[in-house]
């Protein structure tokens, strides 16, 4: 588990400022600290948490807000099956399966011996989870000023695209990945990011032709 925990720091670096912003948003919306923290503890899915809090703050009925949040998470259904060749999914593993944990696990698990994979994955997940929840707590308790230092918050948040770039490198000549990525970017630019990511998963799922690329 220690190896996974150490490997989690790029994710933790990126999660922290986003989680602080989430905590601060919840506090500004008048939500209690306990409720905000419970959201991060139980949901652990950034975009849908922002959507839930934002929609509730606008007066959207709670069940509708939760349903819209769930729509944002539809893409998560593709992650487990993509990891299955390397790791059997139990409830604990599934709980921690965020975008970033999935992408990093997909890169690293194939290179590990089968008996090491679960511990590595859980270490990775734990590092991400701790960062997300610590950031939420600090943001909700009024520590948004932590990120007031010029450019610090946005620089830390850029750790996530930087990490995704490095994880995407081995796939940048894969035609299925390029098509799916282009489609997702197109939807993203139209303001439909969640649908774009979901459709990218569908395109990848339907693309049966294997691709024998070299590792970057």
């Amino acid at each position: 588990m220690g190896e996974g925990l150490r490997a989690a720091w790029p994710i933790a670096l990126g999660y922290f400022p986003v989680a602080v912003a989430f905590g601060a948003l919840g506090a500004q919306a008048g939500l209690g600290y306990l409720w905000i923290q419970l959201t991060s503890l139980l949901v652990f899915a950034g975009a849908s948490q922002f959507a839930l809090v934002g929609l509730l703050a606008q007066g959207v009925p709670p069940l509708l807000a939760a349903s819209l949040g769930l729509l944002l998470n539809l893409r998560h259904a593709f992650y487990g099956p993509a990891l299955r060749p390397y790791l059997k999914g139990g409830p604990l593993e599934a709980f921690f399966l965020t975008d970033e944990v999935f992408a990093l696990a997909l890169r690293t698990l194939p290179g590990l011996s089968p008996e090491k994979r679960r511990g590595y994955f859980l270490g990775l997940a734990l590092g991400a989870y701790l960062s997300w929840n610590l950031g939420t707590a600090l943001g909700a308790l009024g520590a948004k000023g932590l990120l007031a230092w010029p450019r610090l918050g946005e620089a830390l948040a850029f750790a996530l695209p930087a990490l995704f770039l490095l994880l995407a490198l081995p796939h940048l000549r894969n035609p299925a990945a390029l098509l799916a990525g282009g489609m997702a970017l197109g939807f993203h630019l139209l303001g439909q990011t969640a649908w774009g990511l979901f459709l990218a998963g569908v395109v990848g799922l339907l693309w049966k032709e294997p691709w024998k690329g070299r590792k970057a």
């Binding site: 409720w35 139980l42 807000a65 992650y79 299955r84 850029f158 970017l185 294997p210």
Partner: protein, 92 residues
């Protein structure tokens, strides 16, 4: 409101868990690589297209070079994030 939170938590968990459980292997084609590339593109480039993209592209180039020079994923990410902040401070 708490019910909404619990519904979102349970639904998210089931979306992650149900397709992954069990022994039977599901053919996922190229879903993994497709999603990783899609996640990269949507996280790096915010709509609408703007000069901000130049800053992001330069910082991503720095990230890539960081990986080539150090071979360490974490260090490269740190360099990319630092470069992104520096470029912002310089007015990009």
């Amino acid at each position: 409101m708490t019910l909404a939170l619990l519904l979102l938590a349970l639904g998210t968990f089931l979306l992650r868990f149900l397709p992954w459980r069990g022994e039977k292997s599901l053919k996922t084609g190229q879903a993994g690589p497709a999603l990783v590339v899609a996640l990269f593109l949507v996280s790096a480039f915010s709509p609408p297209p703007s000069s901000e993209w130049v800053r992001a592209a330069l910082a991503l180039l720095g990230t890539y070079l960081g990986l080539r020079l150090t071979g360490n994923l974490g260090v490269a990410v740190f360099l990319g994030a630092g470069l992104y902040g520096l470029l912002g401070a310089l007015g990009f």
